[in-house]
């Protein structure tokens, strides 16, 4: 077994997802099968291989530190589920 239902529940909690018992069971079965397939990577000898991070050999990209206009506040707030014209409103944090 590559992943247990308990592990699925634990990872889901880390990812801020709530799964019901049936969802967890179904997901565990599917993920176990997928991870079983992925396990074939262990056949490959990678002891001498560097980790690939980019497809192009790009160097760091610098630009002048200049200010550019930001979107107006009303636009930035326009898609918010709740806002008061000045800030985003969220449930009590503290």
């Amino acid at each position: 077994m590559y992943i247990t239902p308990d592990e699925v529940a634990g990872v889901a909690a880390l990812a801020r997802l709530e799964l019901g018992p049936e969802e967890t069971a179904a997901m565990s079965r599917q993920l176990d099968e997928i991870l079983g397939y992925i396990a074939k990577l262990q056949e490959v000898d990678t002891s001498q291989v560097e980790v690939m991070t980019h497809t192009q050999n790009l160097n760091n990209v610098f630009r002048e530190d200049q200010t550019v206009p930001s979107p107006p506040r009303q636009e930035s707030l326009a898609n918010a589920p709740r806002q008061n014209g000045e800030v985003f409103i969220v449930p009590r944090v503290i």
């Binding site: 990812a15 801020r16 997802l17 997928i34 980019h54 497809t55 898609n79 589920p81 009590r92």
Partner: protein
């Protein structure tokens, strides 16, 4: 004159001669969409008012002799690209009412050229899927036979082009999401080199793999679209500063003595016999044209899907962490605490496939598993890329099928994610290495469903893909349909 069924270059010459106006062309297309899209279901949002305003403006420019090949051309855009003032859902309930405040760079470029944006088309939720069955707003159907999948994730793009609901479309390709639906619907789909096209305004799935590209009715249109969207953008630091060629210019070059490699690993056990036969016949055409066909080996091909299903979900789990119900997107209003708001909003907003991938990615990146999964996958990714480098020393490009089989029936693989994942094994490696690849229709299965032919080239080899693709299209006589 009716514009339905025309290519971009055909409509463009009619517009230039003023045989039809952009407003007439746009209105006829909407009329056509209202009839056909009841069955095809390619569109999520139609932007009729905006499109007609753009068409009027295009007509003004055309009257003055505007020569841009896209001026007045009606297009559709995958709903993963931000469009200012027009709802952009990414196929997810999470973004059901999201209205971007800016245009993606590619959208802005098309608008500037005078193109007309008819609306936003369907996709698998956050581009995760190969069938468009994972779209929160319905599943588009394959216009060639509506019982079958149109492919994914740019399924609405491919279906809208194949159903003549637009002249061309923009899609995005993370593991085959342009080429696979193009193959299944019988249109041309090009995934450019990573960095060739700006990703600014593309809703992110897997940032080291995502690339935007065109779906068109023929190779000439693909060249026209590529010239319009390619180029450096200071707002995407992974876009590359490199001159954009006029892709249309080289289309008619001879292909004599070009070296085309056939990767033997792509003709694997389980490859559909009709696909193998049709692709073989297309290769014969290229041989007749004077190309030299030789067998080559990409030994790590078989690991591509395994690498992909670590790297893509890992990047997705990070990219999709931004959907927290706070600044935009769906929020569960019953939640009493912040954590509960995150949990409930995300659980309600994301569909099953997206949850599955977020969980795989979170697992692969979690402490204790990182070396075994993400690090290992990134190393095998380097080997896949190395395979290409070696092979491109002895050939100019690679030819193969796009998918192991023709499209399947809607619903057939919905409960079997692994089997769906494995349908992408021939398209994934190009994304791993960041090289360009194109899917070109090369024939039909016995059920009259399209079969695609894939060409892959070294980094920034779009010109050679289009040029050899054009030659193939001419010889197969399938150009423009």
């Amino acid at each position: 004159m009716n514009p339905i069924g025309l290519t971009i270059h055909q409509l463009q010459s009619m517009l230039a001669r003023r045989e039809v106006s952009a407003v007439e062309a746009t209105s006829s297309l909407f009329e056509h969409i209202h009839k056909t899209d009841k069955d095809i279901k390619a569109f999520i949002t139609l932007a009729e008012d905006e499109a007609l305003t753009q068409a009027k403006e295009a007509d003004r420019r055309l009257e003055k002799g505007e020569a841009d090949p896209l001026c007045g051309i009606p297009l559709s855009v995958k709903d993963i690209l931000c469009t200012k003032g027009i709802k952009t859902t990414a196929g997810s309930k999470m973004l059901e009412s999201f209205i971007p405040t800016y245009d993606a760079t590619v959208v802005a470029k098309l608008k500037k050229k005078g193109a007309v944006l008819l609306g936003k088309v369907c996709m698998d939720e956050f581009a995760m899927g190969s069938t468009n069955e994972h779209c929160a707003f319905g599943t588009p159907r394959n216009p060639r036979n509506t019982d079958f999948i149109c492919g994914g994730s740019s399924g609405g793009s491919a279906a809208s082009v194949a159903a003549d609901e637009c002249l061309a479309s923009l899609g995005s390709d993370t593991g085959g999401s342009i080429r696979q639906p193009a193959s299944h619907c019988g249109v041309v789909g090009l995934k450019p080199t990573y960095g060739r096209v700006s990703r600014f305004g593309l809703i992110a799935f897997a940032s080291s793999l995502d690339q935007i590209g065109p779906l068109t009715k023929d190779v000439t249109d693909s060249a026209i679209m590529m010239s319009a969207i390619a180029g450096y953008d200071s707002r995407d630091s992974t876009s590359v500063q490199r001159e954009v060629p006029d892709y249309r210019q080289d289309l008619k070059l001879d292909i004599k003595d070009m070296k085309i490699g056939i990767p033997r690993e792509y003709f694997l056990e389980g490859l559909d016999t009709e696909v193998e036969k049709t692709v073989g016949e297309a290769l014969d055409k290229l041989r007749e044209a004077g190309a030299e066909i030789r067998e080559v080996s990409l030994p790590h091909t078989e690991y591509g899907a395994a690498v992909y299903y670590i790297i893509a979900p890992s990047e997705a789990s990070s990219n999709l962490a931004r959907y927290d119900g706070l600044r935009y997107g769906l929020r569960n209003e019953q939640a009493e605490s912040l954590i509960e708001m995150y949990n409930k909003s995300r659980s309600q907003g994301f569909g099953d496939e997206v949850k599955r991938r977020i969980i795989i990615g979170t697992f692969a990146l979690s402490s204790g598993y990182y070396d075994a999964y993400y690090k290992k996958a990134s190393q095998v990714r380097a080997l896949i890329t190395e395979d290409y480098k070696k092979v491109f020393q002895e050939c100019d490009l690679l030819a193969s099928p796009v998918t192991p089989g023709p499209p399947w029936k809607i619903g057939e693989k919905i409960d079997d994610p692994l089997s769906m994942y494995l349908s992408d094994i021939l398209t994934i490696p190009a994304n791993m290495a960041g090289i360009p690849a194109i899917s070109i229709p090369c024939g039909f299965s016995r059920d009259r469903l399209p079969i695609g032919f894939q060409l892959q080239a070294p980094h920034f080899g779009e010109s050679v893909l289009l040029h050899v693709g054009y030659s193939l299209e001419q010889r197969l006589g399938l150009g423009g349909r």
